[in-house]
């Protein structure tokens, strides 16, 4: 039997062509997948659902597989601490002396702070609950820096919650499933974090680029940073609570200011997820959707119009226009409320809150810096 009689013997050229066609088709599919991926802008997409399923499956597997790794890591740490015990002992003694001095200063400042808070009637920040989780997968590639933790909606984790280690901020939750949450690290190329320099109060944006030291962008002011300055979250935008430690400023090889993250010096396997709701989550969207404008009450008799049917909080006196001068030549007061017709007789009685002339709004609570207090800021001492 001749070799040429076999029908498979002539498949070389067609197979190469079909392989090329398959390659082109797969490239088209990959491009379509990339273009259709809208995670982060539109939640509830097919991609987000697939990611949740994958996280749910990978988490228990990673949890089991990482156990020997933790044992081995612990063994190396034990060996390292054994060999470095003498030097570590000297270092700890020096740190202890410094810590005792710092404790005395902190006690005095705490007492002074408490007195000032009492004088200013400042509302103290509520403690923030946390969820402790174990990292079971750690993506360290330059194109994506994300971790997978074994706490999900079953423990009350939601998208947007900040994540910290025992030293500082790690990132925030960008995806959550029943038993897992995906954490976007500060180092990720898509991460943008509002931060401040503790020494100068200068604001900046911490921009991740996939490397170990994210960049400080949008710095303002003359010489706002020095090497070694503490970098904290500023709380601007409401995504992170203010005052969380991030790291220390360092000058990068490219001449730009970067941050050596505090979380890099902490063990990588345990994290704490702060159950912090940002401002957009706290806002009552139904109340915002109600477009009734509050009426402005002045001393002029012509402004004694019926208030809006929905009780609204009174505007502060500083926001009101100046009172009209009395007399017949007085101009009508400026009102930002649309003219509303008189209510019919069958209208139910108005609630008592519709008498803003007699009720004086309480003064807004202010921080010592004169800023209004945030609804749910972070309190470093707050423990679950």
């Amino acid at each position: 039997m001749a070799f040429r009689q076999d029908s498979f013997g002539e498949l070389k050229v067609p197979l190469a062509w079909t392989a090329g066609v398959a390659l082109v088709v797969c490239v088209v599919i990959a491009i379509a997948l990339m273009l259709s991926d809208r995670r982060g802008t539109v939640e509830g997409t097919a991609q987000a659902a697939t990611q949740q399923v994958a996280d749910t499956v990978v988490t228990p597997v990673g949890d089991v597989l990482s156990t020997p790794g933790r044992w081995i890591s612990g063994g190396f740490d034990f060996i390292g601490s054994y060999w470095n015990s003498a030097g570590e002992n000297r270092r700890l003694k020096a740190e202890l002396q410094e810590a005792r001095r710092a404790e005395d200063r902190a006690t005095a400042l705490g007492l002074e702070n408490a007195r000032l808070r009492a004088m200013l009637n400042v509302r103290t920040d509520p403690p923030m609950p946390m969820v402790t989780a174990r990292v079971v997968f750690d993506g360290r590639g330059p194109f994506r820096r994300a971790q997978l933790a074994n706490a999900g909606t079953d423990k009350g984790v939601a998208i947007g919650y900040p994540v910290i280690s025992e030293r500082g901020v790690i990132g925030r939750v960008v995806g959550v499933s029943g038993n897992a949450s995906r954490i976007l690290l500060l180092k990720d190329v898509s991460s943008r974090t509002p931060v401040m320099i503790a020494r100068t109060n200068a604001r900046a944006i911490l921009t991740g680029d996939g490397g170990d030291n994210p960049r400080l962008d949008n710095l303002r002011g003359a010489d706002p940073v020095k090497p070694g300055d503490r970098v904290l979250t500023s709380g601007d935008g409401g995504v992170y609570p203010g005052g969380l430690p991030v790291g220390r400023a360092v000058r990068g090889l490219d001449g730009k200011w970067r941050v050596a993250l505090d979380s890099d010096t902490a063990p990588v396997d345990w994290v704490r997820i702060l159950q912090f709701k940002d401002f957009s989550q706290l806002a009552d969207r139904k109340a915002l959707a109600n477009s009734d404008m509050p009426s402005v009450i002045t001393d002029a008799p012509s402004s004694q119009r019926a208030p809006s049917p929905t009780p609204r909080p009174s505007t502060p006196s500083a926001a009101q226009p100046p009172p009209a001068t009395p007399g017949p030549a007085a101009r009508p007061p400026i009102s930002i409320a649309p003219p509303t017709p008189a209510p019919p007789a069958a209208t139910p009685p108005k609630p008592p809150a519709t008498k803003p002339k007699t009720t004086k709004p309480p003064p807004p609570r202010l921080t010592p810096e004169g800023l209004p207090t945030r609804p749910m800021p972070y309190r470093p001492g707050g423990q679950p």
Binding site: G9, A22, L23, C26, G141, D209, G210
Partner: protein, 171 residues
């Protein structure tokens, strides 16, 4: 006359098993593990498949399998869908186009070819990431990943050695 030489390869032996091994290795190296403060590198294990499959023979199944592997990588690492599949398909297509030039080269020369293909693949990933997030990734990190991935060539060489002559139609 025997027709053993013209028999097609078993897809499971030269594609399925290596793909699963590469994905398992990716999962293992993704575990949080730090020794004396140092973390493990994160090489792109499936580049072994992308290079050696194209060198061994053209196949219809290879790009499909690479696309599927890329999707798994996207799910594991959280990158945009299709990014790793597209990047590896670029490397696979390049190797397929250069296949005739690689035939008969020495091991060191093939290693250099492999490193070049890895560089093109990661450059594609760099470009796609930049397009997706409007921000360039850190080049140092990309170079480290390229070095770690290039060190995996002995595994690709073993795969090529084992299946290169298995189908005489594609010598």
């Amino acid at each position: 006359m025997s027709f053993q030489a013209a028999r097609p390869l078993d897809p499971w032996r030269w594609m399925g098993a290596p793909a699963l091994i590469c994905l398992g290795a990716t999962l293992l190296l993704g575990l949080p593990f730090r020794v004396f403060g140092l973390q493990l590198p994160e090489p792109v294990f499936p580049m072994i498949c992308a290079f050696s499959w194209a060198v061994i023979r053209p196949s219809v199944l290879s790009p499909i399998a690479l696309l599927a592997i890329g999707l798994v990588l996207d799910l594991l690492w959280g990158s945009p869908f299709g990014m790793w599949g597209m990047s590896m398909l670029v490397g696979y297509g390049l190797t397929l186009a250069m296949r005739a030039m690689m035939t008969g080269q020495s091991r060191m020369m093939m290693w250099a070819w492999y490193a070049g293909v890895c560089a093109v693949t990661l450059a594609a990933g760099y470009l796609f990431t930049m397009l997706a997030f409007h921000h360039p990734p850190n080049l140092v990190g990309v170079v480290w990943q390229l070095l770690a991935t290039s060190l995996l060539y002995p595994f690709a060489h073993r795969l090529i050695d084992r299946f290169d002559d298995a189908d005489v139609r594609f010598r």
